[in-house]
């Protein structure tokens, strides 16, 4: 009878696991995948597949080289791949997408110690690097529905008056995602569906998305005093995908409720600042990356006070 397990309590566990959480995130990303297929065609699926394949292979290879146990089973690399793909224009050359995936997984995640240790969101950082390295392909947008790749302006660029003469899509098209933009970011409805799923499954909390999107809405309203304009701002660019899927990433955002509110607030402010006054039409990625850097401080400042703890 000496082969009995002697371990420290607790001896039972609820049924969550990292893999299950990542699986939920993937499920939440499915509606956007369908939307991007309908809006941008099969190439949207191809780019997603390439990103995922290189993200998973990159993680596997990296862990082989540094002799760490493989973690591809936790599905987090798949999530990163999908998120990066959703942040790319549909016309991007495949090798650039693959390169972006490797940067995200190996440089931003792996070299910082792997899942949970990285301070910056891998997909976002990779996207920004691609944007700087390949700015022309990264900003060539395709008119949905057009048979050939015709470059078009995104609603944000039109809002900003960067490309004179463009007409804004209707609100309905904004909701459905029939507009220029990255392949997974355009359909607000699909993304909100996924966001709702994550909220119901308690994978994410409402604090960041509400603070982030709310701040963008209010701030733009204060600037222009036009509800219509603010609604467009809300539905444009990568705000919704950013607020629900990127600004809620566990390791790179605060883990307290108040911290999440502050994070969302900061993201919202920086997004609007960049959108209105910056050189780029879109500011969601930059805002999240900047707030990622502040995350450890926000977490520390908003840490709950231990009950009954005496200050030292």
């Amino acid at each position: 009878m000496s082969n009995m397990t002697v371990s420290i309590s607790p001896h039972i566990k609820d049924n969550t696991s990292t893999t299950k959480i990542m699986r939920d995130v993937l499920i939440a990303l499915v509606p956007a995948l369908i939307a991007s297929f309908l809006v941008f065609g099969a190439r949207a699926l191809l780019i997603t597949a390439v990103c995922v394949a290189f993200a998973v292979a990159g993680e596997w290879g990296f862990e082989k080289i540094v002799k760490k146990p493989s973690t591809i089973g936790d599905l987090s690399a798949v999530v990163t791949g999908v998120l990066l793909a959703y942040n790319l224009p549909v016309g991007i050359p495949l090798w650039q997408a693959a390169f972006g995936s490797l940067v995200a997984i190996v440089v931003v995640k792996g070299l910082f110690g792997g899942l949970g240790q990285n301070f910056a969101n891998p997909a976002i950082t990779a996207r920004i690097i691609l944007l700087i390295a390949f700015s022309s392909t990264m900003t060539t947008w395709v008119i949905p529905g057009a048979t050939d790749a015709v470059s078009s302006a995104t609603p944000l660029a039109i809002l900003k008056g960067m490309e004179g003469g463009g007409t804004l899509p209707t609100i309905t098209n904004m909701l459905l995602g029939v507009r220029g933009g990255c392949l997974g970011e355009t359909s607000a409805i699909a993304l909100l569906l996924g966001g709702a799923y994550l909220l119901i499954r308690r994978v994410i909390s409402w604090h960041t998305p509400v603070a982030f999107i709310g701040t963008v809405f209010l701030f733009t309203f204060l600037l222009k005093g036009d509800v219509n304009y603010s609604v467009y701002e809300m539905l444009s660019g990568g705000l919704i995908i950013g607020a629900f899927f990127m600004a809620t990433d566990y390791s790179t955002t605060p883990s307290t409720d108040w911290g999440r509110v502050i994070f969302g607030l900061g993201c919202g402010l920086i997004t609007v600042l960049i959108r209105v006054w910056g050189n780029y039409p879109e500011g969601v990625s930059f805002s999240i990356l900047l707030m990622n850097i502040l995350t450890p401080y926000i977490s520390k400042a908003t840490r709950k006070k231990p009950l009954g703890g005496v200050k030292i």
């Binding site: 009878m1 397990t5 002697v6 231990p306």
Partner: protein, 461 residues
């Protein structure tokens, strides 16, 4: 002035919804046959070990004193069987320490000791003496000598006594059975507290998954009687002392203070019944009602067994095992202690023994912390286990001090919800030790400094 006045803006503390699995709640406990021998350790409580007063070869009877309390914070030990003392030696407890133990070979006659008679209780002092003599310790699991808990300098400091009937651990139903089968004793205990300790307010806290217990005691409460029943949501760790105090009287016990500092005394319902039984009949604490359950047990049930009975005998009485037991626990699955073998005896504070099969014995392998914050948002005391783990790994005791790891009650909520299966309770235990060492070293250093300065002053003179 309210003692321990800390404002908290929340009504309830965090916790987790654990499965209840109160399979045995409806089973009246069965008395098991007397085992061939019992092994009674001298340390079944917090404090100094009891001192044996019997020798090898001595005849003992049921209810006979076999070991005296070893100090103020200690408790006497009685025999629950009649027979002959076989051995007096050290035994290895599942906590890892060696403790003297008395082994008695039983004669199966269960002859009662002549010394058994109800103690004379007419004053507070006599009441406390009786509690001390009863051998009763915190039976909810803590094992703190009850007499010490009830020894209060200033009775007016007690604003409320909280009877703990929460029983929030999965599987365990022995408190439930005591509350139902021995309700007379529980109630007599309440009367004793009112009479001798002048308690004005008594709150019986029961989790709402035990409606029968709640209604039983609600019926007993009369208006103006000073006793009330508080139905608590079935949310683990509702029965934790600090949690129960907060959910009944809304106070937080500050760091380094006792419940009494916020006007509360918490006493487990079975503990109270055992005290009342001794004062009524003179029979000290010699047997326990225990829940026997778990996936490896053939016929789970509640059993009454003499203290010192090897748990193997208890499992045998429950039909043995239906599959090989791979993990056996003293207590519930959230805070219970795993025992290395089946020779371990039933202790005073054992309220359940659980045996699990292979499938339930293993916790899935740990993976990297994903910083999800679940451990933080479920900790009843608002601690941050993931940060504690980081500070511990970086060997930063000063951070552990800020993170207040010393407050951790090891309830296990954090580890229960962790998707990465981090062994957070284990880490907290180690981190506590690291913090203690650090604080002791600091204390020693400041004292050294003081002495040096004093020496210097002396020199100058």
């Amino acid at each position: 002035m309210k003692l321990g006045g800390e404002t908290v803006y929340r009504k309830t503390l965090h916790g987790v919804r654990v499965p209840h699995r109160k399979n045995t709640a409806g089973d009246k406990p069965e008395k098991m046959p007397i085992p061939a021998f019992v092994t009674i350790p001298m340390s079944m409580h917090i404090g100094a070990a009891a001192k044996p007063i019997v020798n090898v070869g001595d005849e003992v009877k049921v209810g006979q004193l076999i070991a005296e309390a070893g100090g103020f914070v200690s408790s006497p030990v009685y025999s629950g069987v009649s027979g002959k003392v076989k051995k007096l030696d050290d035994m290895l407890m599942s906590g890892g320490q060696f403790v003297p133990a008395i082994t008695i070979e039983t004669d199966g006659l269960q002859t009662m000791s002549e010394s058994i008679e109800p103690p004379k209780v007419e004053s507070l002092q006599e009441f406390l003496d009786a509690v001390r003599a009863s051998g009763v310790v915190g039976l909810g699991g803590a094992g703190f000598p009850t007499a010490v808990k009830l020894t209060v300098k200033d009775l007016s400091a007690i604003e409320a006594v909280i009877i703990n009937g929460a029983e929030c651990e999965p599987y365990i139903t022995s408190d439930t059975r005591t509350m139902l089968d021995d309700k007379q004793l529980v109630w007599e205990g309440i009367e004793l507290l009112k009479k001798y300790m002048q308690v004005k307010r008594i709150i019986i806290g029961i989790e709402d998954n035990k409606p029968e217990c709640i209604s039983t005691y609600k019926k007993l409460c009369v208006s103006g009687g000073g006793v009330e029943v508080k139905a608590l949501p079935a949310m683990y760790p509702q029965g934790g002392e600090k949690v129960l105090i907060f959910h009944t009287i809304g106070r937080i016990v500050p760091e380094g203070k006792l419940p009494l500092d916020v006007g509360a005394i918490v006493i487990n319902c079975t503990t109270l019944a055992a005290v009342a039984k001794y004062i009524k009949t003179g029979i000290p604490l010699v047997e326990k009602c225990i829940t026997v359950d778990g996936s490896a047990v053939k016929n789970p049930k509640n059993v009454i067994a003499p203290i010192g009975t090897p748990i193997k005998d208890v499992f045998d009485f429950c039909g043995g095992f239906k599959s090989e037991p791979k993990k056996v626990l003293y207590g519930g699955p959230m805070m219970g202690l795993a025992v290395p073998n089946l020779d371990a005896p039933i202790l005073k504070n054992t309220n359940a023994i659980l045996a699990f099969n292979e499938k339930d014995a293993v916790i899935p392998a740990e993976t990297a912390c994903i910083k999800c914050g679940r451990c933080v948002s479920h900790c009843p005391l608002n601690l941050a286990p993931t940060d504690i783990e980081t500070a511990f790994k970086l060997k930063k005791p000063e951070d552990l001090d800020v993170l207040k790891v010393n407050l951790c009650m090891e309830c296990g909520c954090c580890a229960y919800v962790c998707p990465a299966n981090r062994p957070l309770v284990q880490i907290n235990k180690l981190a506590k030790a690291m913090l203690r060492d650090y604080q002791n070293a600091q204390k020693a250093a400041t004292e050294m400094l003081k002495k040096k300065e004093e020496a210097k002053k002396e020199e100058k003179k």
